[in-house]
């Protein structure tokens, strides 16, 4: 009886305490939210400008706002819209829908004003946990244009959305051959609501599908074209992907698309086109593209600047229950700018866009013409040192290629006629490939540090290079003093981020700042080994994740800068850094991009893959496509490497392939180099013959001669013609056998 009473009292006490705590927390939140929940509508009247009436701008009202050698900028002080006119041809690029086709626009409601408005945005009422995101725009809210002023070669204006209370300052400038649209982050004002994302002049250059040869260019894979068609079938799919890939700290939509590696986009209609390049704050952008018929009758493409992205706030220990919410703070970049390079004439295709982008990379990003290592094109041999598999009591160590075997392997490649071998050694750390973190010293069973040193000397002696592959983004070994609670990547909810890789799960992801420290600390050890450089896999140079771990807090931009500095120091210390599937921000610090995506994401609205990235990069850095022994279509993808000017790469082991059948990570089903040396050498010889003269040459043109027949033309007149068809192709004065390629020089003849 007495015990029951005590139990009752204790229970009542605990419940009471909990309730008190609850009330206190609710009170606390409520107090905090009172000032924020009070918008300031008074300001509207204070401004002199009148509310805007939705509609197309009156083109007669436009005044000249800037001029460059070949273009003229006209601006409208009422709507904030602008147009650019080519002095030579009189062609016009508008920041609003083409008036000639506006009459047939079928969109209605808010989307109609979205198209008319210079600024559209999404926001949420953060004070109410049940509120939904809302899409609005400046014209829909009958906003006012404040502080319109002329700048040198442009203008500046603040779009005030009067009902939602946002003020968006935007600057537009015409500089040489491009228009720059800049959103000034620091001066954005929010009222009661939280800004999620915005698009500035989303309809710039938008065109309905009048020209059947027109297209949108997406940076999907190496580049993909969305050809204009009227889309009468009502497919509503749009393209919306984060630039430089997903951010683990936030919610990522599952689209199974290739990640964006270059912050570019383009649109071509008739003989006019533009190439868009996001130049500032692009790490916080998504690229949004709507083919005709999905949203309105136009094809349009625009950056969508992100200010807040939802994340998962878990409420249970397993991290499975919870809800999505937004952070209080905005992503801050100094500004967000996109340049629209204006192209015209018959040749204003994706190859011209890529050439313009290459020029941008050279002039603004410090890329320089490649200095080839030798006469022969490089051959990349990825060698797997070792991996783990489940063993009887503990994991079994599977040796793939010891340093001694690697030396023999490289010399055999050499004997087979492969002139210049770059060997990339993977899984050399203790316990091999699947044991992440704390890389040094190398595992004794494959030769240890001494073995690698000897291997490096031997490979260099044969005129090749040795790179070590390193993944600093995962750590499941705890080596190097890593403790996932302290040094692991966390999202804003504080949830540790883990991943699956191969047959392993729950592998902690390392805080970027921790990874950078570790990578920089290792540089000295790399240097002692005498190797030629490091290939970064798994993150550095290719993936940006915001980290909310309080010890290593870093924004996406800081992570981007940190990665560049790691690459920079690596290149300085060792002479060379390479990145697997790199984002373009890793250039020029990275001198080689390994395994670039060479296909598109198979969206129904996209029509074909084009080598945009390769046209932009050839002659600046080296790159490869997927490994030659891991292709879906061996012949076709080999032909594609000829078309794309990519150098051959293979993944090899000295051990029989079946030894890795149960390995945790290395799942590649055919790696024994003896099985592939013949194919590799034959393909290398043919590619070398074709591409050796073009190693430092830019690609100037790329086109389709006939269905399944592509031509790539280099600066020096070299032309590579690839025939994917089952029948031979008869061209003007040349012939390409079925499933083969030939090269022509300017003089003609093979």
């Amino acid at each position: 009886m007495k015990r029951q009473l005590t139990a009752f009292i204790v229970t009542a006490g605990v419940t009471g305490l909990l309730l008190l705590g609850l009330i206190w927390l609710i009170q606390k939140d409520a107090e905090g939210s009172i000032p924020a929940a009070n918008p300031a509508p008074a300001e509207i009247a204070a401004d002199a400008s009148a509310p805007i009436e939705p509609g197309l701008p009156d083109e007669s009202r436009f005044t000249a706002a800037g001029e460059s050698e070949s273009f003229r900028l006209w601006a409208d002080a009422v709507t904030g819209h602008f147009k650019v006119e080519s002095k030579a041809s009189g062609r016009i690029w508008r920041s609003y829908p083409d008036p000639a086709y506006w009459g047939v626009e079928t969109a209605s409601g808010v989307w109609k004003t979205n198209f008319l408005s210079p600024v559209m945005l999404e926001y949420i009422d953060a004070t109410n946990s049940k509120s939904q995101t809302k899409l609005t725009n400046w014209m829909e809210e009958k906003g006012v244009l404040e502080g319109y002023e002329r700048l040198e070669n442009g203008f500046r204006a603040v779009f005030h959305l009067t009902s939602s209370g946002f003020k968006i300052p935007v600057e537009v400038r015409l500089i040489e051959d491009y228009v720059e649209i800049k959103v000034i982050d620091g001066e954005i004002e929010e009222g009661a609501f939280s800004l999620l994302n915005l698009k500035a002049y989303p309809q710039f250059g938008a065109q309905p599908s009048k020209d059947k040869n027109g297209y949108l260019l997406l940076p999907d894979g190496s580049g993909a074209l969305v050809r204009f068609d009227e889309n009468r079938t009502g497919d509503k799919s749009v393209y919306r992907e984060p630039v430089y890939g997903a951010d683990l700290a936030f919610y990522n939509e599952m689209t199974s698309r290739n990640e964006i590696r270059m912050p570019v986009f383009g649109l071509k209609s008739g003989e006019q086109a533009f190439l868009g390049v996001m130049t500032e704050g692009e790490a916080y952008a998504k690229l949004f593209a709507a083919p005709a018929g999905s949203l309105g009758t136009s094809n349009w493409i625009s950056p969508e600047w992100q200010y807040r992205i939802k994340f998962f706030q878990s409420t249970d220990r397993e991290g499975t229950e919870g809800f999505y919410t937004f952070s209080k703070d905005r992503f801050e970049a100094s500004s967000r700018s996109a340049r629209y390079y204006l192209l015209e004439g018959e040749a204003a295709g994706y190859d011209a866009m890529a050439s313009r982008y290459r020029q941008y990379l050279i002039e603004e990003k410090g890329l320089a013409r490649l200095q080839p290592d030798g006469e022969d094109i490089p051959f990349y041999a990825d060698l797997i040192a070792a991996d783990l598999q489940q063993g009887v009591l503990w994991d079994d160590y599977i040796v793939g290629t010891t340093t001694g075997q690697a030396e023999k392997l490289v010399s055999e490649l050499k004997q087979a006629g492969i002139g210049s071998v770059t060997a990339i050694y993977h899984g050399w750390q203790k316990w091999g490939y699947s044991s992440y973190g704390g890389l040094f010293p190398a595992d004794k069973r494959i030769g240890g540090n001494q073995g690698i040193k000897k291997l490096a000397e031997a490979v260099q002696g044969m005129g090749g290079r040795l790179l070590l592959a390193a993944n600093y983004s995962l750590n499941n070994s705890g080596r190097g003093g890593f403790w996932h609670l302290n040094d692991g990547l966390r999202n804003l909810a504080g949830t540790l981020q883990e991943t699956e890789a191969g047959r392993q799960s729950d592998i902690p992801i390392v805080s970027p700042l921790y990874a950078f420290r570790e990578a920089k600390d290792d540089l000295r050890a790399y240097k002692e080994l005498g190797i030629d450089g490091v290939l970064f896999t798994g993150g550095i140079g290719s993936a940006l994740h915001t980290d909310y771990n309080s010890r290593n807090r870093a924004t996406r931009l800081e992570v981007q800068e940190g990665q560049r500095s790691v690459l920079h120091e690596t290149a300085n210390a060792l002479g060379f850094a390479a990145v697997e599937d790199a984002g373009v921000y890793a250039l020029p610090e990275a001198g080689h991009i390994h395994r670039i995506a060479d296909d598109y994401s198979y969206d129904l609205f996209t029509d074909e893959a084009v080598p945009f990235a390769q046209i932009a990069l050839h002659g600046l850095v080296t790159y490869t496509l997927e490994w030659g022994n891991l292709r879906d279509e061996y012949v076709e993808e080999y032909l594609r490497s000829a078309e794309y000017g990519a150098y051959p790469a293979y993944v090899f082991t000295a051990a029989p392939s079946e030894r890795f059948k149960e390995a945790y990570s290395v799942w590649y089903y055919s790696m024994n180099y003896r099985d592939w040396i013949g194919t590799a050498s034959a393909q290398y010889k043919k590619l070398n013959e074709t591409l050796r003269e073009a190693q430092d040459q830019y690609i100037v043109r790329h086109r389709e001669l006939a269905p399944g027949v592509k031509e790539t033309v280099y600066e020096n007149g070299l032309s590579v013609i690839v025939n994917y068809n089952d029948a031979r192709y008869q061209g003007a004065g040349f012939e390409v056998p079925a499933k083969d390629f030939i090269s022509l020089t300017k003089e003609g003849g093979e």
Binding site: G21, D235, R317, G391, T499, R595, Y602, Y634, S670
Partner: protein, 719 residues
């Protein structure tokens, strides 16, 4: 590595499992939007090259003459189409169920005509079949009829529910899919028609039911049958066999069916007599095949092993390969003509994307004359077309040669497949068979072992072993000879020196070197005199906790050795689950549970044993694991499947002996009579269960409570 070990143990012992938040993006280097796999006969899944490449999306741009504005075209998309048929000239016929029409497209996917039957319109037609002579048969489900049209679309005949005493009254004639054979006989799959396919002659006369599925009877069912009354049992309607979902036929006259609601035999290849040609004919039928068709992707988000396949349709290509689609798991699986798996693939896009090659809701599949596949997507209302990749084509060529028994011709092809993918079991098997046929048994043995095919491995090992014995016959004879001579010499010597040698050694043997050694030697005594031996543990101090722990450790090690080193032909778990830590932990937990439970129960029923005696005794009882287990495991490496009876006899003997020892342990240590011991053992087992349940409840409740409090705190703090 010790850390890993410790971690693994900890992860088992502690019930809190940290769920993986797998947000890490899958790196994609530009591949087709689905992944292709192969699963070997141990259900291990391997990623392989894409077998079929997506090539086109057809039928999503249909425009017909606008009935309201003559001369104009209007967009008229498919609406929940349910069937797709491709005729000899690669024309496509789509049963456009939602629009009550049949859509006829040419090979390029352009609209040829629309069949609606103006006089008596179709009502939700779900099946279409085109005969070689051009006649079109439509399963007009909503009108409970099958219509036969000539090639111009004129109605020739209407088939309604046939009149026959053999058809039960409950049979509903809702035709969904059909095929027509050369004679013009119809085989109709009906909705809920568990009797099988309805077979009609060209006049519409009932010919019989064809290819019915069997009911699957589980253990529970047979119990029910035993206990329930007839009326009660008949009310269990779920015991009806599954009704056939779809039907197809090939040139040779085989009729293929798929069925959804069955656990095995989802796919059948029926000959003219209605006998399934796939049952038990697969390569792996002798090992672990479960007769289940329709694969699932391990690690996929939607479903997996728990979901049974829901096969909706199938198609047979010119080589006899059968491809089936699964509506629920969205997986396409392809088998060869004998039911051996070739490949399966699947993938899912996000809700907002529509991709070439990705199907959201597959309802029908067909193949054309060149072996291309067409899958009808009734959610996106499109037909996805696939073409064989280089790898897929190679596998098909090689496999069709193997199926025809032309092993030697197939060998170079399999060798090329093997070069491109050394994990692909059909290639390994193809090479292994060829090697065996050539008499290269060493090679065959290695390849069979790689493929994990026990029978083949065993056969080639048998050959190798025979060869080895033959080659070494002389050596063996010499050894036996030498042993005999040495034995004879020793005997003579012993006699000459008057047994001095023997005496000394026996005296040494009798005097234990230490107490512990004596206690360990007691184990041997137990072998000969179990009851006395266990009695001695309790009353004569013949064993100690230390010696028992040593014996137990040896037994555990032996158990681990058995688990991990027994020949895979007797013990597939060597391949499936190489780690033994889990097994050892399970073993130890059960053993310890038994010791505790036994001590508790016997001390209640006036047993004499102290806890340490029970512990010691039970440890000694595990001796057979070491005494028989280790030699048996070593021996298993030299055995073939022909000697499997010997192996299993010894293995069962081992466990039987250990169980007997445990029983005698109870008897000897507790000083029980036989009957008391039986009672005690039963009680022990019961107690063991109770303890296990209690522990489970306590653990799960505490962790639930902790989770609950944590969530409350989080909800309050964050929201």
């Amino acid at each position: 590595m010790h850390k890993r070990l410790a971690l693994r143990i900890a992860s088992l012992a502690i019930i809190t499992i940290a769920a993986a938040i797998s947000a890490y993006p899958q790196q994609a280097w530009g591949d087709v939007p689905y992944e292709t796999y192969y699963k070997d006969n141990y259900n291990r899944q391997y990623k392989i090259q894409t077998a079929y490449m997506p090539s086109a999306a057809l039928g999503n741009e249909l425009f017909i003459d606008d009935p309201e504005h003559p001369g104009q075209q209007t967009f008229s998309p498919l609406n929940q189409p349910q069937d797709l048929f491709i005729d000899e000239d690669d024309n496509m016929y789509i049963a456009d169920t939602g629009n009550n029409r049949i859509v006829h497209l040419n090979a390029e996917g352009q609209l040829v005509r629309v069949l609606e039957l103006k006089d008596k319109p179709l009502n939700r037609p779900q099946g279409v079949y085109v005969h070689d002579n051009g006649d079109i048969y439509i399963a007009d489900t909503g009108n409970n009829r099958v219509v036969r049209l000539d090639k111009d679309g004129a109605v020739l005949k209407e088939f309604v529910r046939p009149e026959s005493k053999l058809i039960p009254d409950s049979f509903k004639f809702d035709p969904v899919k059909l095929v027509v054979d050369k004679r013009g006989f119809l085989y109709i799959a009906t909705l809920g028609g568990y009797q099988g396919l309805l077979e009609l002659d060209p006049e519409g006369q009932f010919q019989g039911f064809f290819g019915a599925n069997k009911t699957s009877v589980s253990f529970i069912d047979s119990l029910k049958r035993l206990l329930y009354s007839r009326e009660m049992y008949e009310r269990e309607i779920s015991k009806l066999p599954g009704s056939i979902t779809s039907v197809d036929k090939n040139e040779e006259g085989f009729i293929y069916t798929v069925t959804k609601e069955v656990r095995r035999g989802q796919l059948k290849k029926l000959n003219i007599a209605g006998l399934d040609q796939l049952a038990g004919k697969g390569e792996f039928a002798d090992t672990l095949s479960d007769g289940r068709y329709g694969e699932f992707i391990q690690g996929a988000k939607n479903g997996g092993a728990h979901e049974s396949p829901q096969l909706n349709d199938l198609t047979v290509d010119g080589d006899g390969n059968i491809t089936v689609i699964d509506t629920k798991l969205n997986v396409v699986s392809q088998y060869d003509g004998n039911g051996n798996l070739l490949f399966y693939w699947g993938g899912s896009a996000g809700d907002t994307t529509t991709k070439l090659g990705l199907v959201k809701l597959p309802t029908a599949i067909a193949s054309d004359s060149a072996g291309r596949l067409y899958i009808l997507d009734s959610e996106n209302n499109v037909v996805q077309k696939y073409e064989l990749s280089e790898f897929g084509r190679l596998v098909h060529q090689a496999n069709s040669l193997t199926q025809d028994g032309r092993y030697e011709e197939s060998e170079p092809l399999w060798r090329e497949v093997y070069r491109q993918n050394s994990y692909y079991a059909p290639a390994v098997l193809g090479l292994a068979k060829a090697a065996y046929k050539r008499g290269e048994y060493e090679e065959a043995q290695k390849l069979f072992r790689d493929a994990g095919w026990a029978q083949g491995y065993s056969d080639s090992f048998w050959q190798n072993r025979l060869l080895w014995f033959q080659n070494n016959f002389g050596l063996f004879m010499n050894i036996i000879f030498a042993v005999l001579i040495v034995g004879w010499v020793l005997r003579v010597m012993a006699r000459r020196f008057g047994g001095r040698l023997l005496k000394r050694s026996s005296r040494e043997a009798r005097r234990p070197r230490s107490e512990l050694a004596g206690q360990l030697r007691h184990a041997l005594y137990i072998v000969k005199h179990p009851l006395d031996g266990f009695y001695g543990i309790r009353h004569e101090g013949k064993g100690s906790v230390l010696s028992a722990t040593i014996v137990l450790a040896v037994a555990l090690a032996a158990y681990g050795f058995m688990r991990s080193r027994t020949n895979f032909i007797f013990n597939p778990s060597v391949i499936v689950e190489p780690g033994v830590i889990n097994a050892l932990i399970q073993f130890s937990v059960v053993w310890l549970g038994f010791v505790i439970a036994n001590y508790l129960t016997s001390s209640l029923s006036q047993g004499e044993g102290r806890f340490r005696d029970v512990y010691t005794g039970s440890a000694y009882a595990m001796l057979p694991l070491a005494a028989v287990g280790i030699p048996l495991t070593v021996l298993s490496g030299a055995m073939t499947l022909n000697e499997s009876s010997i192996f299993y006899f010894l293995q069962y003997g081992l466990y039987g002996w250990a169980a007997l020892l445990l029983f005698w342990q109870v008897q000897g240590v507790q000083n029980f009579s036989v009957w008391e011991a039986v009672k005690n053992v039963l009680l022990t087992v019961l107690t063991l269960f109770v303890i296990a349940i209690l522990i489970f409840i306590v653990f799960s409740l505490t962790s639930e409570l902790a989770d609950f409090i944590y969530s409350i705190y989080q909800e309050v703090a964050i929201r």
